[in-house]
Symmetry: C2
Subunit: 361 residues, 2 copies
């Protein structure tokens, strides 16, 4: 039973946020989230066999898309949406009509803080997204906008206004988000450390963005949240969220937007199979050694003033500089373009991207 | 009474670390630190009236320097050591013969963690300094070298070795380290949030380094830990540690060294007078608006391979680019050179700085 104190009587941004869930199974996990998610609209992206029926607990307001729906809605452009990989979730980001997205995996449950109180993860993400980020200078007391905190001595006053927050990256108690080699080496490691902090990932610094527990402002950064080509027919998996995170961070840095990480925690219930993961990851593990220097050195021209323009430019640089690593990156660069074309078709008022502070739709 | 569990039976680095304390009063505060500090050697830098006698509780092993001592030891070069300001502490860094320094203010007491256990701040600093930093890529589970943590999925393997840690910046419970304007606006704000994290300040990101609770590796970064010209006869105060922090961070980034911040906390007992602070700070508050962009854009040439060379080069750039803000920066640039000259005189085997991983003394 949820602690009623942690459920706001009027859910924040109730009509401005969609919850996107990729899944291959019945969504019983939603029962535990009912007090927190029920006021919101869900977009369920069914992966795998479209003839299977996914059961959603009663009382939730949702729309569900399976592969047939994706193919019908996007036509030939459906090729940019991964199949048999949770990367398919980004289809939900594209067809949402809301300003904010929260996405969560179906093996993630409500965590408790050290006092034993249930954590309303969604509420914390919304708080993170609604207050500014501080990417230009590090604040040693973490997020200066949290209650009981502020900017410390020596923090330049001109930087205290901050910048709009585009991304809120939440963490995981219990099963940490480790790669296959680390899973294999430390099969019993559990994350039990509750770090009571939210902080801005500084400008110019890349981070590994995990898609398990993630919020973002669709109007500010949506078109960059493409989870790439993974799974069926592709040479890698488990790099979908990483790819999206690297692209997103580079574009946020260019456009002066902020990325926060830290709270909230969810309870990650089950480690995926490290042997299966190793097979999905092994190419990514050596490719990323070239991808990181690439993203660290990306420069976007000044005339890239929208997320779409930045993303198209990035796709060109991917083709030019990563294509030589493997033909996969040529294909990925093309898919990046297809993704933006599909995004613009389904979000015709591109004006939203040009006016990040407006409410245009 | 300290919890005996938090006092290691063999104190870490007992013969390799000095504790530097700047003070103008009797050091009764050491009583509370006795279980943690007594095994170590103290360097006490007495500020203000040298004829005053500072009482040190019995049983501590210490050397004490007042202004007369500093003048006698450094001769004309004593001009680079501030008077009537806790910036004088850096004299202690210079004359130490140890590899590591821990410095603490005399209004800082032993804090407790959320379980009520006393925090052995020094032990945590030593742990921070003895394990690597990760400045090139952000790890979302914070310090990957802490027990129960690791690098998360998507963290490049080639970066997991990390780099040597030069600085460990600790935090403060109770009175936060706010500037005068924030103190005036929020006189009752107390820091009660215990954030159980240590993290590396990413490469290219500046941070406000506070000198209240600070550890560093003297061999790796000592000559950059100059606390500038503050206090008596100078136009500003309370920017001593900030100055040292900006210089240190830029040099650490250049030399491939790491800076950690977070744990350990100390209990900061008393807020200084905000009106007095405002008087000391007000020039710094607007100067820092130009200092930060300056430090953000500093480039050190490749042939600056030691901290001393970096620091001399930085002093030139300070003179050239900041001298026009105020003649104070000309004077400061000269003092930076004097500081290095004095450092080298008192640390004749400069070889230590050339071989950061060696044990040369």
């Amino acid at each position: 039973m949820a602690d009623s104190a942690s459920i706001p009587s009027t859910p924040l941004l109730k009509d401005e946020l969609d919850i996107v869930i990729p899944t291959i199974r019945n969504l019983d996990f939603l029962e535990m989230w009912r007090p927190y998610f029920q006021p919101y609209h869900l977009i369920i992206v069914q992966d795998g066999d479209p003839s299977k029926t996914i059961k959603v607990p009663e009382g939730f307001d949702y729309e569900l898309y399976n592969r047939n729906d994706i193919n019908r809605i996007l036509g030939p452009k459906a090729s940019c949406i991964s199949f048999k990989d949770s990367a398919c979730r980004c289809f939900g980001y594209m067809i949402s009509k809301k300003k904010y997205i929260y996405t969560i995996d179906d093996d993630c449950f409500v965590a408790k803080d050290p006092s034993g109180k249930e954590i309303n993860a969604l509420e914390q993400h919304i708080k993170n997204l609604l207050c500014p980020s501080t990417p230009f200078f590090f604040n040693t007391l973490y997020d200066p906008f949290r209650e009981g905190a502020d900017f410390v001595r020596g923090y330049p006053f001109s930087l205290r206004e901050g910048v709009p927050t585009a991304v809120s990256h939440g963490l995981w108690l219990n099963i940490p988000d480790y790669d296959a080699p680390t899973q294999l080496v430390k099969p019993r490691e559990r994350n039990t450390r509750y770090v009571d902090a939210v902080l801005t990932v500084p400008k110019g610094t890349l981070f590994p963005m995990c898609g398990m527990n993630l919020g973002f402002n669709r109007e500010l950064i949506g078109p960059a949240m493409y989870f790439g080509l993974m799974g069926d027919g592709q040479p890698i998996g488990r790099y979908d969220d990483m790819w999206a995170g690297w692209c997103t961070k580079v574009i946020c840095d260019h456009l002066g937007l902020g990325v926060k990480t830290g709270l909230p925690y969810i309870w990650h219930s089950k480690a995926s199979n490290p042997f299966v993961n190793l097979k999905k990851e092994y190419k990514g593990i050596f490719w990323q050694e070239e991808l990181i220097p690439f993203f660290q050195s990306v420069v976007l021209p000044k005339d890239c003033t929208t997320v779409q323009k930045c993303y198209i430019e990035l796709s060109k640089q991917v083709k030019e500089k990563l294509g030589k690593i493997d033909p996969y990156f040529d294909k990925l660069a093309d898919a990046m373009v297809t993704w933006i074309e599909a995004w613009d078709e389904h979000n015709p008022s591109g004006a939203a991207a040009e006016k990040p502070n407006g409410t245009a739709k």
